[in-house]
Symmetry: D2
Subunit: 295 residues, 4 copies
């Protein structure tokens, strides 16, 4: 069994680390919040003294909110690369810019540390049940070595390309998800404003070429305006920022993505940041004067 | 068995009329192209002398390219409403503006003619195999009367609301379909421009929350740039015009729909009108300088 | 002096007809509202019995709200083309689709009636003061014949091309105007949300490459949220519909125009139809949660 | 006369530093390119040994390509803040994110260094002729102290708010400029595709409410497809990135800005980065299949 340094024990990282403990691994956890560390210890993990301590493990995993956090923990003073052993495998499972993942990989290579970028989708339930989708960028050998750990955490685990590729696929995923919510919202608003029952109309769409996982899972809650998260607008806003930046770095122009990013930003500005991302519907309704901006 | 006047025996109407013949109905067919009428006769149908002749049947079905065609055939001199018997049931299965369907219903009511708007999705294969999805607007009694005919033509048949509702649901369907193609295209361009294998990346998306019927059916052909129709860009361009008009009539503002309509228009302007609607990919690629405008 | 049949004596048409009377022309006016006809008579004009009566003049001018009105009055029973004398000159000064203008010109030519399309900009004050801008489509000889009348009504009078060209230029004008309002609104919202004084920031923009007639005339009222019309959102919404349709007819894809059309539609849906078009600012503010949807 | 450390002697910084020399100031110049330093010395300036040396002056000015350059020179080892004297005035005239300007101001305050952010518009000719527009963020006292220097460099000099405000106004300016080019491009494409002479149509627009400084200066060159810079697409692409980031930092949603950013990105992706920003026209033309992607 492997010793794993796990940094970032939040909503996602907490249950992921616990699943690794449950699978028999030694998990050396670290988080700025002591309560989260205690929770891991209660689940059978061990407390790292600090990030540097966690970084001495054979495998280091980070699961942090945003690019600057990852850069600080990975590249900063007292951070992962300063303390990791040559030959260690460092897996960042946070969602960050592909460019950040590539810079990290280069910096790590200089120190003899191997890296994988391995962002996930599937949200809190996926993390708890070990049923995440994991998109991995890096070298095949490193991926194969990490695969047993990934299979503890996720149901779908795919190596999609070299360093940064995991983050690129995640960015592509999030732009399609955000855009699909916006399209379903526009369909629903058109149906209702035309005097139809929105749910009945979306039922028909769900059964044909317009069908999608989002229509399958969310059309009822959207038609009934239930927006308990799920995956929060705030996080999707962060992810759309990554998608727009990834497009810029790849030197492509993505007009739909540019618009979706602004609509998600609007959802946040209108005060819906803590709601499920399906609450993009509120922006579309509001644009047509069909709902109050703030509850 | 019912006598059905069927006007418009094209790519869609031809096989639909033939299916009705096969199910035992007397079909009195009419089309401006004599060859198409001959084909129906060869299949066991009968030739109407003109539209007026077809309009004397108990049930009249029209399957025509666009709103002006329907208005001419339904409302014009020598047209359906001039010659239909009071009490006849007139079903327009063309895709037209919801507003056109409502005007037709009113004009018919004045003459004592009952109407249903019943646009379909599923394309030529669906028409041939009798597996169309049919979205119906009108009164429940009329719908129930027509249901046996619809069940010959389609696999999914739903009454979605009053007159015009079928067209509204069709418009909503087409905006979601067009938008989903654009989103998948942007994802693919981002993946490829980032140096990844597009197909592998889309495979991952297809398995998660970004999944859709379009990703399921079309990701392989899109990644390989195969754009044989299927449903042509030209037709989707017509349908996006209807979606934008329907939004206008319903007094809603749909920013995604507005943008998708322009992207589909671009596909047509760039000369891809006869390709499958998945060729929206060519517009997104071209925007990023990744493909020639014209083959 | 010419005898002019003038159909449509509303906010624009009323003062225009009065200006023609003042310039010494015999104006035979018609409007569905008797009060408006009376007002023209009080100003020295004459009352036509109906549109057909007005259509018997040497020059016929229509100034009507929208394409269907123009089609009804020009092409309908008892309308202009039915009653105009061969050789008469029919000038439509309404803002309609270029396509409508071209169809009118063809229908008129069949009857030996000459046409010009001559939409205006400059609003009610321009109509009253005879300082409109007039964009004319048609033949040079007809334009020269009409020029003395145009010079009574407007300060800038330009022949821009053949039949329909006046309407195309008007459409181009309105998409630039609507889009500029949206851009200035976004600049203002960004400035204010960043804690700056909006007016001071716009002053700087007005003096440089970002400068425009709209910044010159409207930045103060926009910064102070004064939206008394001026040119109403409702009319600009109509005009954006024409711009989108003109793009469609010309087989071009205009993404900015498509988005502006939806933003103007939003202004109307949110209840601001009777405000000045600079009230597009309310849509942009509202999108960012910075203003209530409805007063 | 003041001693000024001037870091960054490129296309803009070179002539600006030379103008300060000409006005009688002692200018201690630094650039990574020795030839540029030599040129300043030939013009009467003095060569700084390195950035640290230049940073010991009473007033330090930086004029650098992008945010990371400014951060490195200002905050990095051997940089401005490490070597500036307490009480020195540091003016960054580069165009960077407002957020970067604010971070710089905070970091400087800790060291007792005063700052102004003072981005410019007006391009190379404005820099050479000392006719730039300068948008300044910072404290009034510091602005008044710097005013004599600004007046050597620019014709319009405005204090628009506290630290970062100059950059916010610059961002607002660039989004309006980029958007106006896109709108004029769409108008031109619509006119030409409708068979009109583009120049004639734009002349009419320039004279009315659609009028703008861009129509005034660029309509002829755009109609004739002359795109010699001027201000390059590459730089405008950088600036749209700043505008989108500024909107994000200010928590507002700007749909037009989001779309313009993608259209400018497209111009760059299509290979037009070195052309004038009016070459946005090539993207709009190309979208409608009216021009080749690459020359």
């Amino acid at each position: 069994m492997t010793t794993i340094g796990f940094i970032g024990l939040g909503i996602m990282g907490g249950p992921m680390a616990a699943n690794l403990v449950r699978a028999g691994h030694t998990v050396l956890g670290y988080d700025l919040g002591q309560a989260r560390v205690d929770q891991l210890v209660a689940a059978g993990g061990r407390a790292a003294a600090d990030a540097a301590d966690a970084a001495t493990a054979d495998v280091i995993i980070t699961m942090l909110p945003d690019s600057p956090d990852v850069e600080a923990v990975a590249l900063g003073e007292g951070g992962v690369l300063e303390h990791a052993k040559p030959g260690a495998l460092y897996i960042d499972m946070s969602t960050v810019r592909p460019e950040t993942a590539r810079r990290l990989a280069h910096a790590a290579a200089v120190k003899g540390v191997r890296t994988l970028d391995a962002p996930v989708s599937g949200g809190e339930p996926g993390a708890i049940e070990g049923r995440l989708s994991i998109m991995v960028g890096g070298l095949e050998g490193d991926f194969e070595e990490a695969r047993p750990l990934f299979e503890v955490l996720g149901a779908t685990v795919v190596l999609v390309g070299p360093a940064g590729a995991g983050q690129t696929v995640k960015a592509a995923n999030q732009l399609v998800v955000g855009g699909t919510y916006a399209l379903v919202a526009e369909a629903l608003v058109l149906l209702e404003a035309s005097g139809l029952d929105g749910k009945t109309g979306l039922d028909v769409l769900a059964g044909g070429l317009a069908g999608s996982r989002i229509l399958e899972l969310k059309r009822e809650s959207m038609a009934e305006r239930r927006f308990a998260p799920g995956f929060r607008i705030d996080l999707h806003h962060k992810d759309m920022g990554i998608a727009v930046a990834a497009a810029r770095d790849a030197e492509v122009a993505l007009p739909m993505t540019g618009l979706v990013a602004q609509l998600v930003a609007a959802a946040r500005s209108q005060g819906h940041g803590a709601l499920d991302h399906s609450a993009l519907l509120k922006v579309i309704e509001n644009l047509s004067g069909r709902a109050p901006v703030k509850e």
